[in-house]
Structures are given as C-alpha cells and as structure tokens.
Symmetry: C2
DNA sequence: ACTAATTTTTAAGTGACTGCAAAAATTTCC
DNA sequence: GGAAATTTTTGCAGTCACTTAAAAATTAGT
C-alpha cells in the first residue's frame, strides 16, 4: 500500500501549519498572533488548524513527545555500571558542552525562550511537559526494577532529578535572558551542574546502577 | 479612620462570590459551571466577578497565598538545631498524623481533589502554586544564609524538597481517589514519607541547620 | 466515471475575558 | 441634609480559543 497521496498531503499540511505558526509566534509573540492569522497565512480554514492541533499551544510544541521521552531514553541507554543519576548528569553536561538544545539552553535562541516565558499558557504547557518527563522516567525505572506501584522510590528519584535539571536550566535561561551569552556562562554553568548533581548523588547516587553483565538490574 | 462601610462590603462581596463559586464547582465540576452562573447565584454581574477575581480559577484558589507561603514559613519557624529538611518532614508528618489538610490530603474531600484533577486549567494552576511555593522557600533560605543569586544551592534544595512532597502527596491522593480512606492508608503513608525524606537526607540533611544560639545561621 | 470514504470548509454558537461609558451606591465636603 | 467627588457596579459590544453539525471538495477503490 505504501503511503497514498492523501496521507502525504496530510503530513505536509500539518508540518506547514506548524512551521508557519512557529515562525509567526517567534517573530511577534505567542499571544500577539491569533489562530485565525495562522490559518490565513497557511491558507487553510481555522477549523482545519484545530483539526490537526488540539490547542493553539500544540502548534508550537509539536515535538513535545521527544522532550518528554528524553530522560527515560537516557536512562534506558545508560552505560554499564552507570546509575540513573550518572547517566542524566553525563547527558546534561554533554548537551552543555556541545551546545545541544535538548535541555533548553539553546545557542542563540533568546527569541524562542523569551516567547515561551512571556506567555502564561505556554509556560503552563512547559510545566506539564516537565511533569510528563519525570513520570516517564519514573515508569522506565519502575519497569526495569520490576517494582510495584507501592514503591515510591522510582517516582521520588525521577522527581528529584527533574527538580535538579529544572533548577539548573532555569538558572541558565535566566542568565541568558539577562544578556549573557551561552559561551560566557558555560564554564560556570558546568560547575553549577556538577555541584547540583553532587547534592543528589550522596543521597541517591547508588540507586539503580546498571549492572556490568547485560542481565537484570541491581538496586 | 478604621474600616468604612465600603471596604467591609467589598470584603463581604468578595468572600460571598468565592464561597458560592466554590460550592458550585465542588458540586457540579469546575468546567460545568460558567462564570455567568456564578454571577447569577451571587446576585452580581459578570463584570463584578471579574472585578474581584482576575480569572475563573482564582474564584476557587483564593487562599493560594497561604499554600505558597507554607514551606517558607515552616523553614523560618523551624526549631533550633533543625535543618530545612527536618523541619519540613516534621511538619508534613504532623499534618499527616493530625489529619490537617495543608499539604493536600484532606479528610474526606474527595470531591475537591477530584474536581481539581478533572480540570486541566485547575491542575495547571496547582503546578504554578507548587512552583511558587518552592521559589518562596528558596528565597527564604537564601535570605537567611545571605547567599547571592550565583549560589544555586537554596533553589536546588527547595526544588528537591518540593519534588519529594509532591510525590508523596500525589501518591496519597491517587490512593484516596481509588477509594481507600485516609485513615486506612495513613500508617503506610507515614512509612513512605519517612523513606522519601530519608532519600534526601543523606544528601542534603545537614544543609542550613538552625543554630542553637538564636543568632546567625550556619551552613 | 461512479460511489464510498475522508478531508476541508462554512456557519453558528459557547464561554472566558476585556474595554468603555453610563448608572448606582458611598463617602466627602459644606 | 444635600451637592459634588469618588468608587463600585453594570450593560454592551467585542475578541479569541475552541466546539459542533452539516455542506462541499477531494481522494480511493472499482
């Protein structure tokens, strides 16, 4: 069967609407652009927009699933002998060093961050994504350890790791918005991050270490 | 001058609207009650409602400030020789034992919790309140220690404590909504909470201990 | 080309929320 | 006690996100 014309057009339309919307939002601010304007710019009706995207926020955060999966993926792909915490720390520091955007400190994306922060509804959505990200990490941990819903530890560890990341990233974003370039604050940020994870490590550092042998996990 | 008729009536009107709205929301669900209906029930115009409350959500969460101040207050009023973490743990366990609602596990308020959970906008507001609560705790800690904005530790500790509380309370709420009575789960909840704070303690337990002498704080 | 399934559009409405100006209530001043 | 100034309340018109139902256009299968 492959992919018919219909499905290709749908994919294209969806992507076009999302792209056009994102551009307009970044340029003029999320709250200063109406869905009607996006629809007009994308040459579709308003209802078509809502046909593809459940809410206005979804126009922008279309790749939310990736973000929400990030921590769980990092956990699952962690190296032998590496704990949850160590894996996340390594990945975050790596993102910081290579300037990758996956945790939120984008090179020169002031505009994007500023737009998100300026819109209450978008900020709310980001909080939702953070929650989902922590929940998925907790599920991944619980799944691998085989713990039941009565054991809160996976959820606790996930929430604490999430809290740490949010604090670090929030700090970085605040300084970026204050005018400092990512390059200038990167070294200090690295130190802060190491210190932050250090705080956690003594408490939960040894939790759920991936075993050397590719078999079952160890508590 | 004291308090004139005008100010008293304002206070009364505000309270009356909020009370009536809360009752309607709990009875029929937040999203199933329109602001217009609340206005009619309170015998005022819709504009008057919005004159007192910025958003529909504010009608319900009028005492949000208390909730947001809670952790900071517990921290400030902690006992001599008590760390931030110890103070919060003591207060939360106390609330659990005495059945106080301040952390969210209300005696028989299924209806209230259920209503909040069923409304996305209310859940979003709760997340905002959690964030504010952690921020205020962080500010209180930083203020007492005299640390600058460059030191992330207060924010990290506050976020981790917040994460722990949210996880515990979330667990309790989930079981409550599943039909278990608060009394039945209280002992288990207590164990869970102790375990949860234990996780944190090894890491940050000694942070910011209140000194025996009623003078400056100690790190 | 015809029919059935699917997508898009049109049309009409709901509900939160805003801005403005008139009306009503309250306080102040005399 | 009454006019004037002030504040509160209200009515009205409008914006915007979002919903629902039914026409209209497009595509798929034969």
């Amino acid at each position: 069967m492959g992919e018919g014309l219909r499905e290709r057009k749908k994919r294209e339309t969806r992507l076009r609407i999302s792209d056009i919307a994102t551009g307009m939002f970044v340029a003029r601010g999320f709250d200063n652009v109406t869905v009607a304007e996006v629809a007009r710019a994308a040459d579709v009706s308003v209802n078509t927009v809502f046909n593809y995207f459940a809410t206005k926020e979804d126009l922008l955060l279309d790749r939310a699933p990736e973000v929400e999966e990030l921590l769980a993926r990092v956990f699952r792909e962690r190296r032998p002998g590496e704990s949850v915490l160590e894996a996340v720390r390594r990945d975050l520091l790596d993102a910081l060093d290579t300037g990758h955007y996956r945790y939120g400190f984008h090179e020169a994306d002031d505009a994007f961050v500023r737009m998100v922060e300026s819109s209450p509804s978008l900020s709310a959505r980001v909080r939702e994504m953070n929650e989902a990200r922590e929940r998925k990490l907790a599920e991944a941990i619980a799944g691998e350890l085989g713990t039941g819903p009565g054991d809160l530890t996976p959820a606790l560890v996930a929430a604490q790791i999430g809290a740490t990341i949010r604090t670090i990233v929030g700090h970085a974003v605040r300084r970026m918005l204050a005018g400092e370039s990512v390059g200038a604050i990167a070294p200090d940020l690295r130190r802060q991050a190491e210190h932050a994870f250090g705080l956690l490590e003594t408490g939960i550092g040894g939790y759920c270490v991936r075993p050397e042998t590719p078999e079952g996990p160890r508590a």
